[in-house]
């Protein structure tokens, strides 16, 4: 299907793959923030995931193990953050920023031997005749398994937060840690788990960059994707479904502007590149207007340290 010189099917298929790293990272960060912790270290966890995933995949020859390695590395870095902010009560904003810098430096150190190496290919899921359906087949049935996993995770996180008791506890911890503590829930333990989950997803998103989207290891290759993931969580007003929309919108605009250029359109690239951020600001303003008298969209205890007084 061609519309104004742009192949819509290719565009949608490309944007789904292009958005997957930020979608994974943003879904993870959503869970972490829902527990009341603001982890600004997404970029650092992503790049650690990118290098660890790449190294594991190259070492073992298995992309699946690569993604697992990326997730573990991301979770480890997140656990470091969790220990610092939850046990030693360090400032979350400063620790998060430090985590980003730490991740960037550490990954550059570990990645030295992997420059110019080619990773094993991550296969497409074989859907057989389904992928032959014109249009839809390309969009729905032509991706690698991580794309489907990222979509499944969005649904899982949504269902977890909305329907399960554990999800309710997580939200309670994020809204009012003191009250949750008074009810006997272990605030620190819940937050540790939420942060580790967020780190694992960020690491996996990073691994998707180095194993599928680029695919190679280059120092500093996340180039700000982690910050976009953070913006998406705000854009989504802490709702899983909207994280998906946000990630595809942000990813889609990048893919769209490059395709438009390749098709020979002279487009105002700066305006398009700016659009996601302008949208985020608009969403924030609209949200605060809507919620003026009611509940805030952000978890009430977000970014606040919790210390149980004996």
């Amino acid at each position: 299907m061609i519309l104004g010189g742009i192949d819509i099917v290719t565009l949608i298929a490309t944007l789904m793959a292009a958005s997957t790293p930020v979608l994974l990272a943003a879904t993870g960060e959503l869970v972490a923030e829902k527990s009341g912790v603001l982890n600004l270290g997404v970029e650092g966890m992503m790049i650690i995931g990118a290098v660890a995933g790449f190294a594991t995949a190259v070492g073992t020859g298995s992309p699946v193990l690569g993604f697992l390695g990326g997730a573990i590395a991301g979770a480890l870095l997140a656990t470091l953050f969790a220990v610092l902010t939850q046990v030693f009560l360090s400032n979350q904003t400063a620790t998060g920023l430090a985590l980003t810098m730490f991740g960037l430096g550490l990954s550059a150190l570990f990645g030295k031997g992997f420059e110019g190496v080619r990773p094993p290919a991550t296969g497409k899921v074989p859907f057989g005749p389904l992928s032959e359906i014109p249009g839809l087949g390309r969009i729905l049935f032509s991706h690698d398994w991580v794309v489907y996993l990222s979509l499944a995770l969005v649904v899982a996180v949504w269902a977890f937060l909305r329907f399960t008791r554990a999800g309710l506890i997580l939200r309670a911890v994020g809204e009012n840690a003191e009250a949750a503590h008074a009810l006997g829930y272990r605030v620190i333990a819940v937050r540790l788990m939420a942060l580790a989950f967020g780190g694992a997803l960020a690491g996996m998103g990073g691994a998707y960059l180095s194993l599928v989207r680029v695919p190679q290891w280059t120092e500093g290759m996340t180039a700000g994707a982690g910050w976009i993931a953070l913006a998406i969580v705000v854009f989504a007003s802490w709702r899983a479904g909207r994280v998906l929309i946000g990630a595809y919108l942000f990813g889609g605009i990048t893919a769209l502007q490059l395709q438009l250029q390749a098709a020979g359109y002279a487009i105002p690239v700066h305006l398009l590149s700016m659009a996601p951020y302008v949208l985020t600001i608009v969403v924030l303003v609209v949200l605060s207007a809507i919620h003026r008298r009611g509940v805030q969209a952000a978890p009430a205890a977000l970014g606040r340290s919790f210390h149980a007084s004996t």
Binding site: D7, A121, P215, T218, M221, A266
Partner: protein, 360 residues
């Protein structure tokens, strides 16, 4: 000592040092570098850092080199340059076009520190510029592209619409067209020097548009990896040899060889003969090198571009030789005419035949 007085003393010491208090003979010359990307980009910044390592080895304990990588173009560059100057570096290389105004500003503040800015055009008494004639390499790439393309579509990933990049696009197109009149060029502007994911996406978009040759004026090897994945697409090493991707997709490369220039300038600093000047070297001076032409290139094409390379090196042939028209059809160069360096350095138009529009 509180923070403010500490800063004042540090600044005062540094200013005193910069003002040229008699340096002890044993003091090594401090040479600083700022890079726009990481030194592990395997392209532009990597190549500058290779040259830095080479001079560090060459001059031994006579010099001390420092570098700052991943410096964004903009206010941060000014901060990084100031920092290097305050640390007592006497010769500072700013290695990206976008550092130009920052370098000019910092050079004003430190009249006794010598600055060198790559690919720019603003000079001062203590600010020299240097550049390489990358467009000579593009002439070779264009010839190979024109001969080898089957779809007659060349994809070009541009960084920013600045003269250095525009020269490359024009040169590649002119030489592709010369050997293959049906060829067309598609340009995608990435608006970044280094963003592997975006560069990969740009390459993917061009490949989806049917391009089977991808040229890049960005610094990472991501487009090479994307072309390798596609299989039947050829690319060229950019800034660095990128030999890891040979023989396919990388069929040859344009290598920036800064080493002789950095050696010359450091030597000039050591013997006190440094002056502000503008250097623009090409294949002839060794500043631009052509990487090994891989086995994927047919023998007769290889012979053709080797002949072209030696003509470029000797100066017998200029990549921009008239008759050439501008994109809008107006005359630019008459038959046999070649542009002067000033015109080239300010090139802000596409030549006739390119359909893409140059962003303002």
């Amino acid at each position: 000592m509180n923070r403010r007085t500490f800063l004042q003393t540090t600044a005062a010491t540094a200013v005193a040092a910069a003002a040229g208090l008699p340096a002890r003979a044993a003091d090594p010359l401090k040479v600083g570098f700022i890079y726009v990307g990481p030194i592990g980009d395997m392209g532009w910044s990597y190549q500058h850092d290779q040259a830095r390592q080479a001079i560090a080895k060459e001059f031994g304990d006579k010099i001390v080199t420092t570098y700052v990588e991943n410096v964004p173009e903009g206010p941060d560059a000014e901060r990084a340059l100031t920092q290097l100057a305050l640390e007592g570096n006497q010769l500072i290389f700013a290695t990206s076009f976008g550092f130009m105004d920052a370098t000019v500003n910092v050079a004003k503040k430190f009249p006794n520190v010598k600055f060198e800015h790559a690919t720019g055009y603003k000079r001062a008494d203590n600010l020299a510029t240097y550049d390489a004639r990358f467009y000579e390499g593009r002439a070779i790439q264009g010839t190979i592209a024109g001969r080898m393309t089957k779809s007659n579509k060349i994809g070009y990933i541009g960084s920013f619409p600045i003269p250095e990049v525009v020269q490359g696009i024009n040169s590649a197109f002119i030489h592709a067209k010369k050997v293959n009149p049906d060829v067309e060029i598609k340009v995608v502007w990435a608006y970044t020097w280094f963003d592997p994911a975006k560069e990969a996406d740009a390459a993917a978009a061009l490949i989806a548009e049917g391009c089977d040759v991808i040229m890049q004026h960005t610094d990472s090897t991501a487009p090479q990896a994307k072309a390798q994945e596609a299989g039947n697409v050829i690319t060229f090493g950019q800034a660095s040899d990128m030999a890891a991707f040979a023989p396919m997709p990388r069929v040859t490369s344009t290598i920036d060889n800064w080493e002789p220039y950095y050696k010359k300038r450091v030597a000039a600093m050591l013997d006190g003969s440094w002056t502000s000047e503008s250097t623009w070297g090409g294949i002839g001076t060794g500043m631009v090198k052509i990487g090994e032409i891989s086995s994927a290139v047919p023998a007769e094409v290889k012979a053709e571009v080797e002949a072209l390379e030696s003509k470029l090196a000797s100066g017998e042939y200029h990549p921009f030789t008239g008759p050439l028209n501008k994109q809008d059809g107006s005359a630019w160069l008459a038959a046999g005419e070649t542009p002067d360096d000033g015109t080239l350095a300010g090139m802000n138009f596409f030549v006739e035949g390119i359909k893409a529009e140059l962003p303002k």
